[in-house]
């Protein structure tokens, strides 16, 4: 089933690549760097038991783009604490995503994402390979842009005995460029849901993101 979805995504990407039109406004090299805070809310369902954790992470992201191609990097680390009794965890996350803007409003992305959770000295490290489809819209002004991105975890590896059974997610963001300075402010919402252990365990991670960045036009 996972292979069929992967094949479908590759076919869609190829189709869009061949139907791509010139993007006149995206010819040059573009950079963007941002830093900010992430408020994480993790909801875990494990064999009928529910657990909620939340906490702040700090980090940043950067991107570079030339023409239709781009590369986005993101790194953050922080900690989450359970809402009731239980043990908290440190969370570290990073990703490197290649993007191809097939149309002005449509981008295809692919790349690895790593997530480590350290609980009581034990590190659980996930490596996901994700495919993403993103769209964007200018909201009235060219400086106000809304992004929406769906992601599909094509594969997942973990260093423990957990097994990966699929995952998907969503990224939504509103960004606003200041007119006088090459600064932008981003407000985002991320959610991932990972199924493991044959579907008995699901973990949904939400992030409320607030970023301040420098640069124009290369955000991913």
């Amino acid at each position: 089933m996972t292979r069929c979805r992967s094949l479908a995504i590759v076919c869609l990407a190829t189709l869009l690549a061949f139907s791509a039109q010139p993007l006149n406004s995206q010819g040059g090299l573009r950079f963007s760097v941002a830093g900010g805070g992430y408020y994480n809310s993790i909801s875990i369902q494990d064999d009928g038991e529910n657990q909620s954790l939340s906490g702040f992470s700090g980090g940043g992201e950067g991107s570079v783009a030339i023409g239709r191609l781009g590369l986005g990097l993101r790194y953050l680390e922080g900690s989450v604490s359970p809402s009731g009794s239980g043990t908290g965890a440190d969370v570290v996350e990073g990703e490197a995503i290649l993007s191809f803007r097939a149309l002005q409003w449509l981008a295809l992305k692919f790349g690895p994402r790593l997530r480590s959770t350290i609980t009581s000295g034990v590190t659980e490290r996930w490596v996901f390979w994700e495919g993403r489809v993103g769209t964007r819209a200018r909201l009235g002004s060219p400086r106000v842009v809304g992004n929406l991105e769906f992601l599909l975890m094509l594969s997942g590896d973990v260093n423990t005995s957990e097994s990966f059974n699929g995952g998907q997610g969503l990224r939504g963001r509103l960004s606003w460029e200041l007119s006088e300075l090459p600064l932008w402010i981003g407000l985002g919402y991320h959610i991932d849901r990972i199924k493991s252990r044959g579907g008995l365990r699901t973990e949904a991670t939400e992030q409320l993101v607030l970023l301040i960045g420098i640069g124009r036009g290369a955000r991913y």
């Binding site: 819209a137 909201l139 809304g146 929406l148 919402y189 939400e206 409320l208």
Partner: protein, 354 residues
């Protein structure tokens, strides 16, 4: 008998050749010969040489100046030969021929010059001089017409086209001694003329208005013009950006904001159906939707798009600059039209006894 006939023929030939200047002895030589005889007080010989010179065609066989000189010296000769009437007639002929020439008071005694002055006062005559070829630029040069009057005269200078239609009245006024009037080569409306044949006519009049003499110069006019540039094509409507928002742009903003905002708010429940999700998705989703709604009203139909207005203004200004440059260049090219006027020999018609 044969000898007698040959002798008669020889005498006749000698007599005939004596009446006309030979090629070896030109009219100018005869004038010089007459002047020398006059200076040596040999008035008979002077009169004979000068009369022979005056049989020549002025302007062709003899120069105008030499012809006038012959008239002056012959008039003075007749004065000393006791023929003041002949002197008066010769001086009248001189005044009618060329008003510029007169006996020099340093050379001739007052009796001669007095007769000339009396004749000049009584004889209304006008000499017109037009250069045989004039080449000038419009607004920079002119065709000079020089008028020499024997005494106070009214003068009318006009240009006619090949069909005798008046093209331009150049001058209408008095001339007391000499005057230069100019024609700029344009018609009465100030427009350049087409190439062709024209006529410059100078009519002299008594102060009472009676026309005396008409002098007409045939003119051939050729203009050399530079082609003017064509004006730039008007700007096509497709080059202008819309200066006001259309319904489509606002609608796209609204739909984009609502789809993305709705996606952020609704899709997480589908992705994680059983999870206890936070309310942050509604916060972000609402912000995106609200941005779309605000953007819609900011770009609702009829709103002025300042950036496009500025771009269109710049486009129009660039076009106007190009147009101005072309207009200025064309004005320069029009003003640099060269006119070449060639004047033929004057034809003089006496309208009334001067």
């Amino acid at each position: 008998m044969t000898s007698l006939r040959a002798l008669l023929l020889l005498v006749a030939f000698a007599t005939a050749t004596d009446l006309l200047p030979t090629s070896a002895q030109s009219a100018s030589d005869l004038v010089d010969q007459g002047v020398r005889a006059y200076d040596e007080l040999e008035f008979e010989a002077a009169a004979a040489s000068l009369r022979r010179a005056l049989r020549s065609d002025p302007g062709e066989d003899i120069s105008i100046a030499a012809y006038g000189r012959a008239l002056i010296y012959l008039g003075a000769t007749e004065y000393y030969r006791g023929n003041p009437d002949s002197t008066e007639a010769l001086f009248r002929r001189l005044v009618l021929f060329d008003t510029r020439q007169r006996p020099d008071p340093l050379v001739f005694e007052p009796g001669v010059t007095d007769i000339f002055e009396a004749v000049r006062r009584d004889t209304k005559s006008l000499t017109v001089v037009v250069p045989p070829r004039s080449d000038f630029r419009i607004e920079e040069g002119t065709l000079p017409v020089t008028l020499y009057a024997s005494s106070f005269l009214g003068t009318l200078v006009e240009v006619f086209d090949g069909d005798s239609n008046l093209v331009r009245m150049v001058y209408d006024g008095p001339v007391s001694d000499s005057l230069v009037v100019t024609w700029d080569g344009l018609d009465s409306l100030g427009a350049p003329l087409n190439d062709g044949d024209f006529a410059l006519t100078v009519t002299s009049r008594r102060p009472g208005g009676v026309s005396l003499r008409s002098t007409t110069f045939p003119l051939t006019l050729n203009t050399q013009r530079q082609d003017t540039l064509s004006h730039p094509e008007p700007l096509a409507d497709s080059l202008f950006l819309p200066e006001r928002t259309s319904g489509g742009q606002g609608f796209e903003t609204l739909v984009g904001g609502l789809i993305i905002g709705g996606g952020v708010m609704l899709v997480p429940s589908i992705i994680a159906p059983n999870a206890e999700l936070s309310g942050s998705r509604f916060f972000v989703g609402s912000a995106v939707s609200l941005a779309g709604i605000v953007g819609y009203f900011a770009r609702k139909p009829g709103q002025i798009i300042t950036v496009n207005v500025d771009a269109n203004r710049e486009l129009r200004e660039q076009w106007n600059d190009r147009l101005t440059r072309v207009i200025n260049e064309n004005a320069l090219r029009r003003s640099s039209v060269r006119i070449v006027i060639e004047a033929g020999p004057a034809e003089i018609v006496e309208l009334r006894q001067p």
